[in-house]
């Protein structure tokens, strides 16, 4: 509803601001945001003060909960708490990096396809259809394997030219191919969503007005069309973060993802499953962190969808 102000320049509230306001009133979403923040704090800050997650101590295997080992130790006597936090780093990074890569590609690809229309659109979408027709995990495994062949060279190059610690670099180059394999293939559905949104936005009259005002195509696409498709894109991408974490876990569980001694939640769950009958906490504790994060991300995604629903803010 318009309000009259007497001659005072007042900052209007943008749709983003309105959405933030609605978001702040959604208790579930805010609690989820808190859980996610806490999880990131634990895995990326608190982890530095933990024990070495890879320190093997065969004498002290399957130790019970204690002041020294909060969550006990695993089959090789490694501190489980430290391993969960370090594993969380990999899992959360997989979610974030793969999503960032896929969102970047998906938005540009979908927006260009939808905006160009005609033959270009048809060809671009057939490419997406073809890739979607091949099982996702098969593609990811092939791409990861291809990227991994370069990881040895990359390690040496980084160690030589930047002087990084060799072991740390080795662990990094071991997981990075997986991040990118997921990201480089995860944009397919997103690009279709963006394209559909662009198709409807480009029929809106403000886009025609922009054409009539002589704006360039790039300006119209990136200043007038894309910002209006970001809402649904953000919602969809928050829901893909847990998807990617899940894929990493599946691949690691199958022994194709993150390799020991690196850990990830998927690796820990796989290791824990071996001792299901005797040491159930080895499965349950990583599983708890894993599910808590996924739950929170899904709740956050739902909250964002409600907050960014354009229909609710139309008038």
């Amino acid at each position: 509803m318009p309000k009259e102000t007497a001659g005072v320049t007042k900052h209007g509230s943008s749709l983003w601001k309105d959405a933030r306001h609605r978001m702040a009133q959604n208790k579930f979403a805010m609690a989820s945001l808190g859980v996610i923040a806490l999880m990131i704090l634990f895995c990326f800050v608190f982890a530095w003060f933990c024990k070495d997650p890879n320190k093997v101590n065969l004498v002290n295997k399957f130790a019970p909960f204690s002041g020294e080992h909060w969550f006990g130790t695993d089959a090789l006597g490694r501190d489980l708490f430290a391993r969960i936090l370090y594993g969380g780093q990999v899992s959360i990074l997989v979610g974030l990096i793969a999503t960032a890569v896929s969102v970047a590609i998906g938005i540009v690809y979908g927006a260009v396809s939808g905006f160009a229309g005609g033959r270009i659109d048809a060809v671009m979408m057939r490419v997406v259809d073809t890739l979607l027709a091949i099982p996702f995990l098969v593609l990811v495994i092939v791409l990861q394997a291809t990227l991994s062949t370069f990881s040895g060279d990359a390690t040496n190059w980084i160690v030589e030219s930047w002087g990084w610690d060799k072991e740390f670099t080795g662990r990094l180059t071991n997981v990075v191919p997986l991040f990118f394999a997921l990201g480089l293939l995860g944009w397919l559905t997103l690009s279709r969503i963006v394209r559909a949104q662009v198709l409807s936005i480009k029929e809106r009259e403000f886009v025609e007005a922009a054409v009539a005002l002589g704006y360039s195509k790039a300006r119209i696409l990136f200043r007038h069309v894309v910002p209006n498709v970001l809402g649904p894109t953000i919602v969809y991408s928050t829901l893909t973060v847990p998807g990617f974490i899940m894929y990493e876990a599946i691949l690691s569980f199958l022994g194709l993802g993150v390799e020991s001694p690196n850990s990830s939640w998927g690796v820990l769950i796989k290791e824990g499953a071996n001792f299901l009958e005797t040491e159930v906490q080895l499965l349950l504790l990583p599983g708890l962190f894993f599910s808590l994060t996924l739950f929170s991300l899904n709740f956050l995604g739902d909250g964002l969808r409600d907050a960014l629903d354009v229909k609710a803010s139309k008038d």
């Binding site: 005072v8 007042k10 749709l15 403000f206 025609e208 007005a209 009539a212």
Partner: protein
């Protein structure tokens, strides 16, 4: 004894943002066989009143805070249990809605849908129900009802669908028909026929009709009595003739005066604000007062009566825009698998010319191609053939780069002000952008000054700079669209149905703005509209369009006085007449 009696009805909407008094202490009644028109602008509570009666409002947020609706002397509609209310809905009180396109189920045949109310409410055989359905379809003017009854809704035109809706509403012989803007989405010629059918059915079947509309002309045409609503309250009610002849409430006076008609001689239309002062108390209650100087203000406007400039003959001077044999054909189909291509000839050989500083009105019914012409001139769609000479250059053959220079000189204002502003940009960003793209103004502070003066020119202020489009009302948004179009300092503007979605009082303000700007900036307009009265008000010359072709062109006054083509005559006849002479004749 009145059939329906509404007493002190109050319906409020409780939302997080506060309470809206959508219907605030409304009382009126309808007698058997009477047509009562409820008129009001959007948000006046007219539809809410209708929906409240039948319990059709979602609650929450809606809540009936008080009042009574008595139907046929014994039923208190507001307190009936759902099953009893259902038995009344569709049997004794039925309803027709605005949009005939979305009110019919696309999966069922027309016959299934028209017969359904009978089968729901009466214990009759299917054959009997279908017989009665077909009979009713004949009554509402569906020809060959026996054969066409088995069609699906998409095979019917808009007018035919609305007839089917009416048949569906009347097939159970209800006592009362609630018609919520039933002709708003229809062309004038179709509207005229539907109104005629409604009046005929009232005479035949004795059904009472509550006719909700925003259009005073329609009310004058169809209703016996009128109830005028404004911001949730009934401001005046009485017989049609008395309301039109002798309105007492300042709002009604304003409403009647701000509507351009064929007889309007004002150069600047009066607006509701010339008559009415509103004062809103902190608790949301309203005080409406007549402006003490209303008569003076009107007299002022009357002095500026347009001289007979609309009657001058088509000038021989060089036109600014000349369109010759313009054709725009759209092809659909023809995909990968070689579906047959279909060609739609949206514009099929049109000649137009507009002299500098004048307005050409382009009228026609929906789908006649008038909008496509506007877009083709601006090269928003590619013309198939023909020439568009603008100030010497042929726009139709320019490549996109060469066209860029002309984008500065010609602009367009669209119908829907909600869709024509980017919701993510502040007003300042939206208005600065064209200046920056065309390198108008030196530096950002100069551009800011220009934007402020543009805003002031369209009646807004620098206070609005940092707002977003969704914080403005429809009329204000259309002003913003005008300001954006003016930013590049064009000399020619296409107004594409730019007041069609507005309430009359807002429409008057925007029309006045367009007129003032034409004078101060010597603009040339192509004014596209389906509304003949509005076109007559703004245009120097008028072109009538039908099925992709221009039927008749003449200067405005002559065309409306002596139409030469039968199609023009039909259009003019179909416009609801609200002049006193016609009204007196109808009231006997």
């Amino acid at each position: 004894m009145s059939l329906l009696e509404i007493k002190n009805l109050k319906t409020y909407f409780h939302t997080r943002a506060g309470t809206t008094r959508a219907v605030d202490d409304v009382s009126f009644s309808i007698d058997k066989g009477e047509i009562v028109g409820v008129v009001g602008e959007s948000g006046s509570g007219k539809s809410v009143t209708c929906h409240t009666m039948l319990g059709l409002l979602p609650s929450p947020p809606a809540k009936v805070e008080g009042g009574a609706v008595t139907f046929d002397d014994d039923d208190e509609l507001l307190h009936l249990s759902p099953p009893i209310l259902r038995a009344i809905r569709g049997k004794r009180i039925s309803m027709i809605f605005q949009d005939p396109m979305s009110c019919l189920n696309p999966y069922l045949t027309i016959l299934d849908q028209v017969a359904e109310p009978i089968l729901t409410h009466e214990n009759v055989s299917r054959e009997e129900a279908e017989r009665r359905a077909i009979e009713m379809m004949k009554k509402v003017g569906i020809r060959d009802a026996e054969q066409r009854a088995h069609s699906h809704p998409h095979e019917f035109s808009g007018g035919m669908r609305q007839r089917a809706m009416i048949a569906m509403a009347l097939v159970t012989n209800p006592d009362l028909l609630l018609a919520d803007e039933p002709t708003t989405a229809l062309d004038v010629t179709v509207q005229a026929r539907i109104l005629q059918i409604l009046r005929g059915l009232r005479d035949d079947l004795g059904v009472a009709v509550l006719f909700v509309t925003h259009d005073l002309g329609v009310v004058a045409d169809v209703a016996d009595r009128v109830v005028v609503m404004y911001r949730g309250k009934v401001v005046e009610q009485g017989s049609v003739l008395s309301i039109f002849e002798n309105p007492s409430h300042p709002y009604v006076k304003g409403l009647l005066a701000c509507r351009p008609t064929f007889e309007t001689k004002y150069r600047i239309l009066p607006t509701v604000d010339d008559f009415l002062e509103t004062e809103e108390a902190p608790d949301g209650s309203l005080t409406l007062r007549e402006r003490p100087d209303a008569a003076d203000r009107l007299a002022e406007l009357e002095k500026q009566v347009a001289t007979d400039e609309h009657t001058e003959a088509l000038p021989t001077t060089e036109p600014l825009l000349e369109v010759k044999d313009l054709k725009v054909h759209f092809t659909s189909g023809g995909g990968f698998l070689g579906k047959p291509k279909e060609t739609v000839k949206a514009v099929d050989g049109v000649d137009l010319s507009i002299p500098k500083g004048k307005t050409l009105g382009l009228v026609g019914e929906s789908g006649c191609g008038k909008t496509t012409i506007g877009r083709a001139i601006l090269r928003l769609v590619r013309p198939t053939s023909g020439s568009i000479r603008y100030d010497g250059a042929n726009l139709a053959s320019l490549n996109p780069d060469a066209m860029l220079a002309y984008r500065k000189r010609m602009q367009i204002i669209f119908q829907d002000p909600y869709a024509s502003l980017n919701p993510r940009l502040t007003i300042e960003q939206a208005l600065t952008e064209p200046l920056a793209v065309h390198r108008i103004g030196s530096g950002s502070s100069d551009r800011r000054d220009r934007v402020v003066s543009l805003l002031e020119e369209v009646g807004l202020s620098s206070a609005h700079l940092l707002r977003y489009p969704h914080e403005f009302s429809g009329g204000q948004r259309q002003r913003l669209c005008v300001a954006r179009a003016l930013a590049v300092e064009p000399e020619f503007i296409v107004c594409d149905e730019c007041v069609s979605a507005m309430d009359v009082s807002v429409q008057a303000q925007v029309l006045n703005l367009l007129n003032e700007l034409q004078e101060s900036r010597s603009l040339t307009y192509l004014f596209i509209s389906h509304d003949l009265s509005v076109v007559k008000f703004v245009s120097d010359h008028v072109a009538v369009m039908q099925a992709g072709r221009i039927v008749e062109t003449n200067c405005a006054e002559d065309l409306y006085r002596n139409p030469k083509e039968t199609y023009t005559q039909e259009l003019l006849d179909a416009v609801p007449k609200a002049d006193l002479k016609t009204l007196r004749k109808r009231s006997g």
